[in-house]
Amino acid sequence: MIFFLIIGFSIVANDTPNDAGGSILITTYNIPEGTQKIELYRLAKGDTIYEEAGLIPPRGECEDVSVVDGVEYLYRVRAITEDTFYVAETKEFISSSPQWFNRTRITVLLFFILFGGVVLVYIELAKKNPKGLFIRKLPALDAIDEAVGRSTEMGKPVLFVPGLEGITDAGTLASITILEKVGKRVAEYGSRVIHPNFDPIVMTTAQETLKTAFSEAGRPDAFNKDDVFYLTYEQFGFAAGVDGIMLREKPGAIFLQGYFYAESLILAETGYSIGAIQIAGTNATTQLPFFVAACDYVLLGEEMFAASAYISREPRLLGSIKGSDLAKLAILCLIGAGVIFGTFAVIANNAGNPSYLGIFNRVLDFIARGNG
């Protein structure tokens, strides 16, 4: 057998990092000119013959996923050109093993622990002293009382649309908290709330919520379960149905709170045309523009979460808002410090000292690693 061991063409085998085992990472360097394919062979400790282990793609890197954890191997590659072939081998035995921690995800873990910790601490603090946490008041919240009041004066009902998402959506959950507040006001004023539904589970939850709200306002008898009903499971069918309700019942106040899709604009337009006060809120960022343009008050994305915390004064919601705020503050500080340090590093680099720029890039790399 004739083969060439050329200087430069080499192979490195390592246990694939951050995996569940059963894989060895093979990297080849300085692949000879004109290579058509690279064959991989492997020798298990104790065996005498190299067995075939597949081909290496032209990039020169691959994972051998047919290995057994704990068994030690030697590797050999053959780079085959038109008229000859070149060989490279590993010198030391290598084995694969599973890892207990995926290091490429360390930034995610760090951020998760910090953020989660802050949220939990603030939830506890809020439990002890719910008045102690300040949350800015949102104009849309004052409007709730006004809207319900005005529609009662006019002898018109209130319409509450909870969006098209299921109970797992953060927007739907916030919507239920807001519904509680609206329900209480409606009960106090002796008005009526109509609540059409898209999702059957959201419907049962809304029924329970309104029932509680009415009893807490001291008017359990005024609650009519049939006002919370199931409409349809089809997007435009739902929009047409709600439109029909708007035109027939002429509600004085309309709440569009939850996750909406393309039908948002149909609902908001019809609501505007019947002259109702419209208070919208959604975490669907694509639909926010239509609400802003056509409704009187809008809770923009995260404002919805803040609003539900403000209304309920529930520690779990207050704590989360405070936690999110601190995370935002941390992000602001981080990128702010980045600007200052980065400017300094570039100046230092231009003055002939590249070490600070190196640190800057390493920090960036560390944050980026969360995406590995």
Partner: protein, 209 residues
Amino acid sequence: MSISTSIWIWIAALLTLMIYSFLYKDNPFYRLAEHIFMGLSLGYTLVILWYDYIIPRIYQPLFFSPHQWSLIFPILLGMMTFGIFSKKYNWLIKYPLAFYVSAFAAIQIPVMLRSWILKQVEASFLTPDKFSSVFNSINAILIFVGLVTTLIYFYFSKKREHGFGAAATVGIVFIMVAFGAAFGYTVMARISLLIGRMQFLIQDWLGIM
């Protein structure tokens, strides 16, 4: 100009017109098309469910080797959702719901942290290469200011006073510009869909052009 002779194109065209008749007013033709649509899409959902869920995820792994008997648990949990139909066993649905809600939440956490937060923070760092020309520098600073003031706008646990309030005001200006851009693009997409339907009616059905 040659009007189509294919019966299927005629059916499609008539259904299209029946839906559009809603623009004049709600009428029996629209109602008819709407209910055909709802019925068909429900049937379609069931066929997808069968083909995409039940066969590959339940039937095949359960009845062909290697049998994955552990799948019996999610199936049982899934069946408990039917508890919603009975007053007495209504509470049964809470078990699958608990699993479902929690799995969704837990899968969502790393995704959100990685691509919605960390990735965006990383992209927001001002690196030297963003200042390659005067125009690029101004743009980089505008993007940076847009992000910072937006974050300040969404900061809820501080009173809006002085500089902080001013920054939040700048933030809402940026937010509204972003919404305007999204608005424009969405309108564009809706019109495109209408053009597509009109092209069908004019070209494929009526044969004009």
